[in-house]
């Protein structure tokens, strides 16, 4: 057995990995941010508080104002990133969670809108709303309260 061989394989793998990493353009990955209306008094929120609102475990912000969560529709990449980063659930875990909640009559999932722009517009209009969109779609009508 050639004892040098494994090191050689490892070195080649590392080279390939570095090449692959360099090939991914920086900023190609969308970044999800949690937003409220510019009219809302909320300036920040924790991931845990956001999770409680989006999972229907509370209907208010920590300072007691009503919270109306707005989701992106299923299959949206930003939605998947939000649930993976902030709520720590993949799409099937989320489907299982809502199956439990809906079928036991505890609650209902948030309203869903089709794209970032629709969520931003709905959030901008309603001082109680909370949503998440791609950072690139943020404008002055909304305030970023969490960058997970």
């Amino acid at each position: 057995m050639d004892s040098v061989k494994p090191h050689g394989i490892l070195r080649n793998c590392l080279k390939l990995l570095l090449l692959a990493m360099a090939a991914i353009p920086a900023g190609a990955q969308a970044a999800v941010v949690v937003i409220v209306s510019a009219k809302s008094p909320i300036t920040s929120i924790t991931a845990e508080q956001t999770a409680r609102i989006f999972l229907g475990k509370t209907t208010s912000f920590p300072d007691d104002g009503d919270a109306l969560p707005i989701d992106l529709t299923e299959g949206n990449a930003i939605r998947n990133e939000f649930y993976s980063k902030v709520i720590h659930k993949n799409p099937s875990q989320l489907a299982a969670y809502w199956a439990k909640v809906i079928f036991t009559g505890i609650g209902r999932p948030p309203i869903e809108l089709a794209n970032n722009e629709a969520v931003r517009k709905a959030v901008a209009k309603n001082p109680h709303a909370i949503g998440y969109i791609d950072k690139r779609d943020v404008n002055r009508s909304v305030r970023v309260i969490l960058e997970p």
Binding site: R52, H88, A96, A99, G105
Partner: protein, 378 residues
């Protein structure tokens, strides 16, 4: 069934008067859905049937080497939100039960009134949340296992109650808490060997609490009921027996893996206990898991009437199970699970095997069960 009809009628009336109110919200008034499971299982023990639930009259083992009755069911569910304060739920469930049929039954039918977002009352047929997965025990898609651990979940055969419950949700810092008080009655036909019986329970009440902090969930419950199963347990006419359950559970689920454990102390004319510990790891669409569960044999209370032979058999069901399984989320809203169980019966116990012939001595045996199930939601 009559009660369920009442509730459906009430739903209809609300639907009529509530249209105007619902028009202002973006949410639909009704959410129609359902869930189901198609399962098949095989047991290496030919002298008794392996059934995970005491309402199932037969299963793999003695009745048939391969059986589809343990984990096959379908249910339809309607959740209605008439006004921000008034909602209702109806669930019709078809699974294998008494009479050897899949005759559909009303599992839940209730109307809920929310005084505030935190405080609510529900009236009708309600789930009994004895365990962490008690309310969703029929919805296989909501957990990793083929079915919840038998040793623990078989301790309480009553799954719903006709009556009311009051729930209060609160939040202290990062802790969320939900406490529920329930009162009602329940009827359920069970096949717990040696005697099939109608378990009629009255004055059923309980306190149930669930606390959550981040990825941690803690559940604690106490419930008590008067059951007309006295004759079976004492051999002395229509005696009523008080059943008490004290249960607790903890779950840690940060997303990529989970760990959970539940315990129950149960007291009727005898005292018994059960526990399980289970963990799993999520790798992409696969969730391998491992569970260990055991229950203790019952010890008769000194002040209870002398136990009948049947009661001794009922109390002495000590067994333990090691389960190794895998859940595969192979397509949207659908999973496939495979599970291997090694069941070890204690000395002087037939465990939870049913339909064991009177002359069979299975004490101390070990056997295996293999199960496959496809769960879906729609």
């Amino acid at each position: 069934m009559t009660k369920a009809c009442y509730i459906i009628a009430v739903l209809g009336i609300f639907a009529g008067i509530a249209n105007a109110d619902a028009a202002g919200t973006d949410q639909p008034m009704f959410i129609f859905g359902g869930f189901g499971s198609m399962g098949i299982s095989h047991s290496s023990m030919g002298s008794g049937d392996y059934v995970p639930d005491s309402s199932i009259p037969s299963g793999p083992g003695r009745t048939a080497a391969w059986s589809t009755t343990n984990d096959t069911r379908i249910a339809g569910n309607v959740a209605a939100q008439f006004t921000p304060k008034i909602s209702a739920l109806l669930q019709i469930d078809s699974e294998y039960h008494s009479g050897n049929t899949y005759q559909p039954e009303v599992e839940w039918a209730h109307v809920k009134y929310a005084f505030t977002p935190e405080a609510s009352i529900r009236v009708g047929r309600l789930a009994l949340p004895t365990f962490m997965e008690a309310e969703n025990r029929d919805i296989g898609y909501t957990y990793a296992w083929i079915h919840p651990p038998v040793e623990v979940y078989r301790q309480e055969p009553i799954t719903n109650s006709d009556g009311f419950d009051v729930t209060y949700r609160s939040q202290v810092g990062e802790w969320g808490n939900s406490i529920k008080a329930l009162y009602g009655s329940a009827m359920r036909q069970t096949y717990a060997s040696p005697i099939p019986s109608d378990l009629t329970s009255r004055n059923l009440w309980g306190i149930f609490d669930t606390a959550e902090y981040g990825s941690t969930t803690i559940h604690a419950a106490f419930q008590q009921r008067k059951t007309d199963s006295g004759y079976m347990l004492t051999g002395q006419g229509e005696t009523q027996v008080t059943d008490r359950d004290l249960s607790a559970g903890v779950q840690y689920d940060p997303g990529d893996w989970f760990m959970m454990s539940e315990w129950i102390l149960r007291e009727s004319t005898y005292k018994t206990s059960a526990m399980y510990v289970s963990g799993g790891y999520r790798i992409q669409k696969f969730t391998p898991y491992l569970t260990y569960a055991q229950n203790s044999s019952g010890s008769f209370l000194p002040d209870s009437p002398p136990p009948s032979q049947d009661a001794i058999m009922l109390a002495n069901r000590e067994q333990s199970t090691i389960s190794l399984g895998m859940r595969w989320d192979f397509m949207k809203n659908t999973d496939l699970k495979l599970q291997f169980d090694q069941v070890m019966l204690s000395a002087n116990s037939n465990g939870y095997l049913e339909n064991v012939p009177a002359n069979a001595t299975l004490f101390g045996s070990t056997f295996h069960v293999i199960s496959a199930v496809v769960d879906f939601i729609f």
